[in-house]
Amino acid sequence: MIFLAIQYLLERRRQTILTLLGVFFGTVAYVAVSGFFLGFQGYMVQQLVNNQAQIHIQAREDFVTDHQLDNDFYGTKYAHIFWSSQPARAVGYLEVQDPQAWYARLASDPRVVAYAPIMSAPVIMTLASIVQSANLIGCDPELESKVISVPYFMVEGSFQDIAAGGNRIILGEELMKRLGAGMNQVINVSVGKGAPAPFRVVGHFFSGSRGLDLQAYGNLGDVQRINLTPNRVSEIGVRLKDYSQANAIATSWGKLAPELIESWDMQNLNILSVFAIQTVLRFSMIFTVLIVAGFGIYNILNMTVSQKRQDIAILRSMGYDTFDIVMLFFSQGLIVGIVGAILGLIVGYLTCLYLQSVSFMNVTPTNPTGHLHISLSYSIYIQATFMSIFSASLASILPARAAGKLTPIEVIRQGG
């Protein structure tokens, strides 16, 4: 029956090409749009998992809830306490309670690639008359380099220059501009407790992310000292072998200690929810295109079945059965689906390659070419093939079944 199905398709070239184009454009759209969105999402995820720690083990700071202090003040005597002034304050700790226990736990966990303790402090930086607030992160540069990618974005100086301590500081590019600071200049850093401490600028970095570029890095010991929190850490950053496991690992660690443990995806739920919306939009759009293509196949096959009633009658009289007739028409839809999908995959792939080569974005250390990030993941091509062939098959099955139900006598009696 395939032989005859191909003859039918070749004979009705214009209709065949039109239906083929429907599937073709659907497949191209799926590959290109998915490549674009998934490439963008992949790029964003890479930024999130590389620029910062994949799991943050932080000192937990909570807030007093409305009736949390009722029992402490009044016991269980009263059913309800009405506060004229609601108690309110932060409770908890500003530092990780038992960092040594965490270090031991992380060092023995095979899923962990590296970890780095930091002391983060909000500071006021002063250079001459310029005053700028910033976040100063104290770290061990060697450990920090294994957890985040900021050390690789150095414009001048080396991230390791803060290793020795001695009040050296590395500034983000944006912070450096706002302070009007230059290399080797001394800026005063105040944490609001004690006298401001002078720090010498030994380097600066540019990540392309304004949030990161407003931060400053110093030696862990220096920051602990000026913050009056010697040997304390506010956070331990962790890098994993498989960042997709971060959420599950963070959840399981959360049960072991009082610290607040968040994975990169927990901290970026808003971005990930945008990805989810993009995915819904992507599938809706492609689904619409393929529905239109499917209707094209359905209409044309329906028309073909009514035009080919005589052929069906004569084939049935030759001994061809219902299945043969169903396959005669179903295979036409399937052939259109397969050929359309193959051509669509090729052109979709070429479109993706072209998009990859075109500059659309600013050049940054995280995107040194400035080109769009297009995903060429094989899963897109498998999904596109499946969706195209599935929609073509679905559209073919109804006309094919109708054809299969026709009996020769029915056609002959109705005069073909």
Partner: protein
Amino acid sequence: MSIIATNINKSFGDPPVHVLKDISLEIKDGEFVALTGRSGSGKSTLMYILSSLDNPSTGTVEISGKDIAKLSEEEIHRFRNEELGFVFQAAYMIAELSVIDNVLMPTMKFDQKEKRRSSAEHLLDEFGLKDKMKRFPRQLSGGEQQRVAIARALVMDPKYLFADEPTGALDTESGDVVMNIIKEINAKSKTTVLMVTHDPDFAREAGREIHLADGAIISNG
């Protein structure tokens, strides 16, 4: 080996219209039988029932000793493919296929295309269509198309040929050619032929004539 119909009744619609009324007959192997009657007499309906294309409302049909109603779907399709040939008033050519492919179409059902190719070419040669094998149906006259249809009906070397007014749509000359072919098939290959016809001249050329009126056999022989 013959076609035996016993108490065939056929009715259509609601209220039912009785098209065939208690028909019993036997067609022996190698016979050439003409089914005649006026329009609406039930001759085509009887032929379709005798050839397994339609089912009787009541009654049985046996072909080559097999009760058609008792054959499975697969058996009936194989039986139609291997034992029965059909020619209709219209040639019912598949427009997308060449003459030779049209003739070979029945052979493709059970993968006998190559085995039957020489037989198909021989039939076309015999019917004066040797030089038109590669042509498409639209390039043939009505008479030529009907000859191709006969070749297609014979390519599987069937025991029975059922023809429903095969000359009905042809001019006299083409009709005579088609009629001679059918007669020759019956004479040479001993193929049993059951032919529905309006034409009394063609009916006389058959060895036996069964005349129907109002769904009943009026004369048989």
